[in-house]
């Protein structure tokens, strides 16, 4: 017998190991070493969360009670993976192109980004998953009890609520730590997936070890086992074709619709080709898991005392032969099965709850809608964390309330029937363009209601909500409404009865209502995008060019994606349009891309609602609808050829006219530059000449004379500075500058710049925010030149920041091989129209008197940064003027 404390210790060590593995995987992913983390092997192993504690322990019990029927639970997924992998491939492709975050998001997105459907599917999933999670907690608790004392009888429990509570709390912590690190559900939870892959290996090894022990140690080899099976009750088992087919179908449906399976199969999928490996490797895994089920059941029944709980044979058999180590391994296998299921289920459900229930409520109840950048990101993450805790709390509450009723043993199948209600809407959405939102809602609600009435609520037993009278006589004595004999057809197995009526009425209503109703424009667009996902993988268009300001959109996106992500995305989009900077044109394509990006974080319906607040007018243009209507393959091909040709012509024309414009602009620029220089030189000269003439005439009072001489002096300095700047600029522009590269601490350089710029408007109180620890990093560059740029930016902030209490924030960070230094003040910033102008020569946005310079400062900064191999950019949407200086951390080799 293994001491209970040792077991707890082993369990804790195992959990710590999982933590370390998850942490290590996250670390590797952050360093970009994701190659094997994203291999088909890890993908296949992660699919094995299909095998929960119910399969690990329960399959043996199932075999002991109902013979070979347990095979159906493995047969369904096997058939789907081998025969229906093209459906899975379509699901995965759609999941990636539409950035689907959950199964609720899939249904919502397909039917016109309807949040109503998202809510319905979320509710179905939460209700169906709660008892299933309770079952996992129960199995861990039971297996603890096996070690705690004498083998318990049946499913009866001692006071083990505290065990379950501890397990639930630990799982909540783990899931929150590794499941809510990233907001974008489309990015893989590398830590969680890797930990789960490890758990998959542990549970397989554990079950195989117990199997080998049973066959070769307890029995004397395969021949002996075969003869024992022959002699046991299992050999007398008669197949019930109805139940066999029904259960196989159910298990096949479950692998498509269980939220956790959707999470690992579609959302966490890194590469579509992994599906091909999984389609043979996962059935193999299932085969290995089921190989020793019957031998363990037969030997257990024969060897262990009568009345032993067959659900625990995997544990009790090794214990009966005093194999403590093996029993411990089996225990860890069961523990793995339970924990991995709960973790992924909680992540999947939390994503749904936060995206389809919390976010829409938030959008509705806050004033101003998505406009105005709040930190939505924090809100979503917290909503997810709370949802995870909520889901586990529900599971625990169900466990505590049901008190481990024997009904839990069958709850796995009941859950399966619940989530299978999503199947008609899902398959209909994938293959039938005529399916509509109202049809899907009608089918889902009908199926869900029948499932609740005919299977879920009766499962609480006679003491539950439904009394014996209601079960036997029907509500109010209406016989044809008896929960287990609807429409007067009784005598069927209750599970099959509920499965048949819920799914067939669900499907019938889905089809009938879809035929009777008319899909809206957005439903049609999404319908084509889903059904024909392989024909044109191009994204759905849905936005007409609106009056939205790219800057507002950036502010909103930063609230959801985080500043770095959002800026990177906007920059890439702008670059794709051939623009520099952070603000792309708000074209329909850009709207669509932004919506998909946001959908990865908050779900399609919410992202659509948020964008809708910015994009003007109708969401669907006539051209888009025409594209939906004209889809005869030939027309499409022909027109796409024409389109390609005319696009090429248009591209050439565009390039020519751009070159022409550039030349004209250059000539205009040269004239403007000369005229500007003339103006900047003549202005101080005017004062000098006028006052020297006045002084020459004489006859002035002493103080006046001194003052006029001082004006002449100051204006001469101004002239000199202008000439210096012009010369500096010309040297920099010609690239003839001598760089004096040395190593320095960035922190010291910022110190130097702050000190030097302190003279500018020294009378103003100016608050500087710095994060000193992040600033300490070595930098290889021409330090004097870099400091010159810093001084310029700091004095500009001091000069132009118009806030009542001016503040300047300096942020340093390292991204990739780049060092970025941001200077952000709290003034009113630079208007969008002028942002591209500020780096031009003589671009001075306010009046001359205050500036005191010639308007060459930022132009010089830009040239310096170009010479240092870096950039300086204006970053919009930061709540003030924000400039980013970026330069390579290592010295670049001189390019030839």
């Amino acid at each position: 017998m293994v001491p209970f404390n040792l077991l707890v210790a082993a369990c804790l060590i195992y959990v710590i190991l999982l933590f370390l593995v998850a942490f290590w995987a996250e670390q590797q992913a952050r360093l970009g070493r994701v190659k094997w983390l994203r291999s088909p092997v890890v993908y296949t192993l992660s699919l094995s969360i299909y095998c929960t504690a119910w399969t690990f322990y329960g399959a043996v019990g199932y075999a002991a009670r109902s013979g070979l029927e347990f095979v159906t639970i493995y047969l369904g997924p096997t058939l789907v993976l081998i025969g229906w992998w093209w459906v899975l491939r379509k699901l995965v492709r759609i999941g990636r192109t539409q950035r689907v975050t959950s199964i609720a998001d899939l249904i919502s997105s397909r039917f016109g980004k309807s949040n109503l459907l998202g809510v319905i599917v979320t509710l179905i999933c939460v209700v169906a998953a709660t008892p299933y999670i309770a079952l996992q907690l129960q199995s861990v608790t039971l297996s603890f009890n096996v070690f705690a004392g004498p083998v318990p009888e049946g499913w009866a429990l001692r006071d083990s609520n505290s065990t379950a509570l501890w397990v639930a709390a630990g799982l909540t912590l783990f899931t929150i730590l590794f499941g809510t690190r990233n907001l974008d559900a489309n990015e893989r939870h590398n830590g969680v997936v890797t930990a789960i892959a490890l758990e998959a290996v542990v549970k397989l090894v554990a079950l195989l070890a117990v199997g080998v022990f049973t066959v070769w140690v307890v029995a004397s080899g395969p021949a002996d086992i075969l003869s024992r099976i022959e002699a046991s009750d299992i050999a007398d088992w008669q197949m019930q074709p109805g139940r066999w087919a029904g259960l196989t179908f159910l298990a096949g449906a479950a692998i498509l619709t269980l939220p956790r399976m959707f999470q690992v199969m579609v959302v966490e999928n890194a590469d579509e080709r992994h599906m091909a490996t999984a389609s043979w490797a996962f059935p193999l895994y299932l085969f290995a898991m089921s190989l020793f089920v019957v031998p363990i059941a037969v030997v257990g029944l024969a060897v262990l005392p009568a009345g032993s709980n067959p659900d625990l044979f995997v544990l009790t058999l090794p214990l009966a032969f005093d194999q403590g180590g093996l029993a411990m391994l089996a225990f860890l296998g069961g523990f793995s099965s339970a924990t991995s299921m709960v973790i992924v289920e909680a992540i999947a459900l939390a994503t749904m709850v936060s995206n389809h229930i919390v976010m829409p409520l938030w959008l509705r109840f806050r004033t101003g809608g998505a406009r105005g950048a709040g930190d939505v990101r924090g809100l979503v993450l917290n909503a997810r964390r709370l949802s995870i805790a909520g889901v586990l709390a529900l599971g625990y509450a169900y466990f505590a309330l049901s008190g481990g009723s024997s009904a839990l043993a069958a709850i796995g199948l009941i859950s399966f029937v619940g989530v299978a209600q999503i199947l008609p809407a899902m398959l209909g959405g994938l293959f039938w363009r005529g399916a509509t939102r109202i049809g899907a809602a009608a089918g889902l609600l009908t199926g869900f209601a029948i499932w609740l009435y005919a299977l879920f609520l009766p499962s609480f037993g006679a003491g539950g909500l439904f009394g014996t009278e209601l079960m036997l006589q029907g509500p109010l004595g209406i016989g044809w409404l008896r929960p287990q004999a609807l429409f007067g057809i009784g005598g069927i197995d209750p599970l099959l009865h509920a499965l048949f009526w819920s799914l067939s009425l669900n499907t019938a209503l889905f089809c009938a209502v879809s035929l009777l109703t008319f899909p809206g424009p957005m439903e049609r667009l999404q319908g084509v995008a889903f059904v024909n996902v392989f024909d044109h993988s191009g994204p759905t268009r849905g936005w007409s060019r609106g009056g939205a300001e790219a800057e507002d959109l950036l502010a909103m996106a930063q609230g959801i994606l985080g500043a770095d992500e959002a800026q990177g995305f906007f920059q890439a989009q702008a670059a794709a349009q051939g623009k520099a900077g952070f603000l792309p044109d708000t074209t329909p394509e850009f709207f669509a891309a932004l919506e998909r990006r946001l959908a990865g974080s908050v779900g399609a319906a919410t992202a659509h609602a948020m964008i809708a607040q910015f994009a003007a007018g109708a969401a669907v243009s006539v051209q888009d609808l025409m594209a939906v209507a004209n889809e005869a393959q030939q027309i499409m091909e022909y027109s796409s050829q024409l389109e390609a040709k005319s696009e090429e012509l248009a591209r050439t024309a565009r390039a020519l006219s751009e070159a022409n414009e550039k030349l004209q602009a250059l000539s205009v620029q040269k004239d403007a530059f000369l005229s500007q220089i003339s103006h900047e030189l003549r202005t101080p000269m005017t004062s000098i000449r006028a006052f020297s003439e006045i002084l020459m005439e004489g006859g002035l009072e002493g103080p006046d004379q001194a003052r006029y001489a001082e004006i002449i002096h100051d204006e001469t300095i101004r002239l000199t500075r202008l000439l210096d700047d012009l010369l500096d600029l010309s040297v920099l522009e010609n690239g003839r500058v001598q760089l004096n590269v040395q190593v320095a601490n960035l922190h010291d350089l910022i110190d130097r710049a702050l000190q030097a710029a302190g003279q500018t408007r020294a009378e103003r109180r100016f608050v500087i925010h710095r994060d000193l620890p992040t600033e300490h990093m070595p930098i290889f560059t021409d330090t004097d030149r870099l400091v010159q740029v810093f001084i310029n930016l700091i004095s500009n902030a001091r000069k132009y920041c118009d806030a009542a209490r001016p503040e300047l924030t300096i942020k340093v960070r390292r991204r990739g091989g780049q060092i970025e230094v941001d200077f952000i003040d709290n003034g009113s910033g630079i208007p969008a129209g002028s942002q591209s102008l500020v780096f031009e020569k003589f671009a001075r946005l306010t009046d001359t008197t205050r500036a005191g310079g010639a308007g060459l400062g930022l132009a010089i900064c830009r040239e310096i940064m170009a010479n240092l191999g870096g950039t300086i950019t204006y970053v919009p949407g930061q709540g003030g003027a924000a400039f980013r200086v970026a330069l390579p951390a290592r010295r670049q080799r001189e390019a030839a």
């Binding site: 005017t686 000098i688 003439e693």
Partner: protein, 122 residues
Amino acid sequence: MDKRVLLIEDEPNIIEAIRFILARDGWAVATHSDGETALTAIRASVPDVLVLDVMLPGRSGFDILADLRADPGLQALPVLMLTAKGQGRARDAAEQAGADRFLSKPFANAEVLATVRELAGL
């Protein structure tokens, strides 16, 4: 003699110089530094002579002049334009816009004074 001149110019040192030159000669000198509100200032204190800079914050001197010439009440106001661009093209533009006289910066003090006096008919 109590003639009034209005100077529209944004460089404080140039304002001070011109004010000194004209005041010494007995002129009452008012100044205004913003292009956008210049027209209102002119209407508020119709001067005997207007000295108008071309490069002003908010609005160019040419635009202000065009508005003046379109206003029946101000059509006849004598205007001396100052510009720091000093190219032939600027002079043409000023004449086309309806400036009576044109001086490019830097100017001789005596020249400014003589031109203003001439415009006032002294």
